[in-house]
């Protein structure tokens, strides 16, 4: 079964420092991987996705993610964190058999400290 794991519960980072949110995946076949962000009292916003091609994917708000097949990882990164990046981040994998259904990781709370 397709699944993703986000091993950390909370990520604390000082403003201006690099931000990394970790995600590992388990799939049979080619993975389709997604990152979403959820701000308080709001729905999920799409950040980026990996389908195929370049392992470094660039997305919204200055975020990028690196697909690493050998480590089965898809970590989200931002070179310089902003206080406004404080939110809940979800990694997700598309379930290949079943109409684009997504399986989400547990989520990571990111706290950017001024």
């Amino acid at each position: 079964a397709q699944s993703v794991a986000q091993p950390e519960d909370q990520v604390n980072v000082a403003e201006g420092n690099p931000l990394t949110v970790k995600c590992t995946y388990s799939v049979s076949g080619n993975p389709y991987l997604f990152w979403y962000v959820q701000y308080p009292n709001r729905g999920l916003q799409f950040l980026l996705k990996y389908i195929t091609g370049d392992n470094l994917v660039k997305g919204s708000y200055g975020f990028e993610a690196e697909f690493n097949k050998s480590q089965t990882s898809f970590h989200l990164k931002k070179p310089s964190a902003l206080v406004s990046d404080s939110a809940l981040y979800f990694c997700a994998v598309s379930l290949l058999y079943g109409n684009n259904r997504l399986a989400f990781g547990k989520g990571n709370q990111v706290v950017v400290i001024p």
């Binding site: 389709y32 997604f34 979403y36 009292n41 709001r42 729905g43 999920l44 916003q45 799409f46 996705k49 389908i51 979800f90 598309s94 379930l95 290949l96 079943g98 109409n99 684009n100 259904r101 997504l102 399986a103 989400f104 990781g105 547990k106 989520g107």
Partner: protein, 115 residues
Amino acid sequence: SAVISQKPSRDICQRGTSLTIQCQVDSQVTMMFWYRQQPGQSLTLIATANQGSEATYESGFVIDKFPISRPNLTFSTLTVSNMSPEDSSIYLCSAGTGEGTDTQYFGPGTRLTVL
């Protein structure tokens, strides 16, 4: 990208009652999805709704508890029936083409509290 709205944005309900949540997309979409996000938890898929056919429910979710309608390509409803406090969650709808590579776009969610 699709813009999705949901009504109501939040509600407080008494146990034993039912609530219907509406989801409206600003363009025609093949698939609509309903998720539940319990407090402090991740998203769990409830069901997939394809226009013109019965919704497909995930393990642990049944039609009697969560009936879904999909009358056209831009609209869907989810009803939470015979509610109990355990149903207190955020309910989110999303929309996509049904292709595995497609991006799903999400509505803002409906925050439900059952007393």
